[in-house]
């Protein structure tokens, strides 16, 4: 073996080491990112469980930061730059924005209470959150709907111009909230839950 041939394995080894060096660094970086995401990221979960014969279930887990960054990339129909244009913010003569503004500026309390044979409805503001509770009593459809929206999220949604909802700002505000169940719907056939936490899997 000549002196040049003797160096070939060394050169091959160095080349392989050079190639693998970024791999090691990348793996380390990924591990760090993964642990950071486990601790820092907020996940929005949607779970739909149907109790019918097919037993349909839907589970969706979305990192809020991903949604926040991806939404502005969607340019379709009424959704542009992370904002939804809503032409009917003035619904049937009711200015939704003004109502939200009024609710935001008012003290905690129960704003709407409807009790009838068909349904009980209440809209409450408590501890910086707006709570909507609907209990439909009509048989055979017997349903219970609870919606909890942090007021900061409502504010962020309405931070855009008059006829649009700023979804990106809403998601950003939502990410700042603690673990919270946003929507809960229970009826005879389905259970629907939308909630926010730091886990990347559903329970």
């Amino acid at each position: 073996m000549t002196s040049r041939t003797r160096h070939l394995p060394l050169i091959a080894f160095l080349a392989a080491a050079f190639l693998f060096a970024p791999l090691g660094t990348q793996a380390q970086t990924n591990a760090n990112q993964s642990s950071t995401s486990t601790h820092g990221d907020r996940w929005l979960h949607v779970r739909v469980i149907s109790t019918n014969s097919k037993g349909e279930t839907v589970r969706v887990n979305v990192p809020l930061e991903l949604a926040e960054k991806v939404l502005p990339a969607i340019d379709h129909d009424r959704l542009h730059n992370g904002k939804v244009r809503i032409g009917c913010m003035d619904c049937d003569g009711v200015d939704v924005r003004t109502i939200f503004e009024a609710v935001r500026n008012s003290k905690d309390g129960e704003f709407v209470t409807v009790q009838s044979n068909d349904a009980d409805i209440s809209v409450t503001k408590k501890d910086g959150q707006m709570l909507v509770h609907v209990h439909e009593k009509n048989k055979p459809k017997h349903s219970q709907v609870e919606v909890k929206v942090p007021m900061k999220v409502v504010e962020a949604l309405l931070s855009g111009s008059k006829d649009e909802l700023d979804i990106t700002a809403g998601l950003h505000a939502l990410a700042g909230q603690g673990d919270v169940e946003l929507v809960s719907v229970k009826d005879d056939d389905n259970t629907i839950r939308v909630w926010l936490d730091s886990k990347n899997v559903t329970d």
């Binding site: 073996m1 000549t2 041939t5 070939l8 394995p9 091959a12 080349a15 392989a16 190639l19 693998f20 791999l23 990924n30 990112q33 993964s34 995401s37 990221d41 097919k54 037993g55 349909e56 279930t57 839907v58 589970r59 969706v60 887990n61 979305v62 990192p63 930061e65 991903l66 960054k69 991806v70 990339a73 969607i74 340019d75 990347n200 899997v201 559903t202």
Partner: protein
């Protein structure tokens, strides 16, 4: 003899390095199995590393056509792929509907799509970095809006 040894060593080292590089970049895999009737079976395994390279050999006219059709969605695909790389292990969507199952998740930095129904299964594995690269290439061919 020495020359042969040199050639063999060079060849072996090249294969080893190419294998290592391919392994690092991951595999793009599409498996479609139809078990009903004369169902077809499609199994495509492609080293993800060659996909962006192969795109440079696609005629510009064909790329322009693809860019015209899909280009407008590429910023979205690029944004999703780029962001999903931050979540290398995540269950994103899971749907069970009787005998139909759909699962979308990330694993080892790849996007996995599994769809199963009676008589047909589809499994797709694609490294997110490859989706990112391809979306960028296609976006470059999108007509200016």
């Amino acid at each position: 003899m020495v020359l042969l040894a040199k050639i063999a060593l060079g060849f072996g080292a090249t294969v080893a390095l190419a294998g290592a590089y391919t392994f690092r970049e991951g595999i793009l895999r599409v498996d479609v199995d139809e078990t009903r009737g004369n169902g077809s079976h499609v199994h495509v395994w492609v080293p993800a590393a060659i996909v962006p390279m192969a795109m440079h050999f696609v005629p510009r006219l064909k790329m322009a056509e693809a860019g015209e059709c899909a280009g407008k969605f590429m910023p979205l695909v690029h944004a999703v792929a780029k962001e999903l790389q931050r979540y290398p292990e995540a269950d994103l969507v899971e749907v069970h509907d009787g005998q139909q199952n759909i699962r979308i998740r990330t694993h080892n930095g790849s996007l996995l799509i599994d769809a199963e129904e009676p008589g047909q299964t589809v499994h797709v594995v694609c490294p997110l970095a490859t989706i990112d690269d391809v979306s960028r290439e296609l976006a470059a061919f999108a007509p200016a809006s």
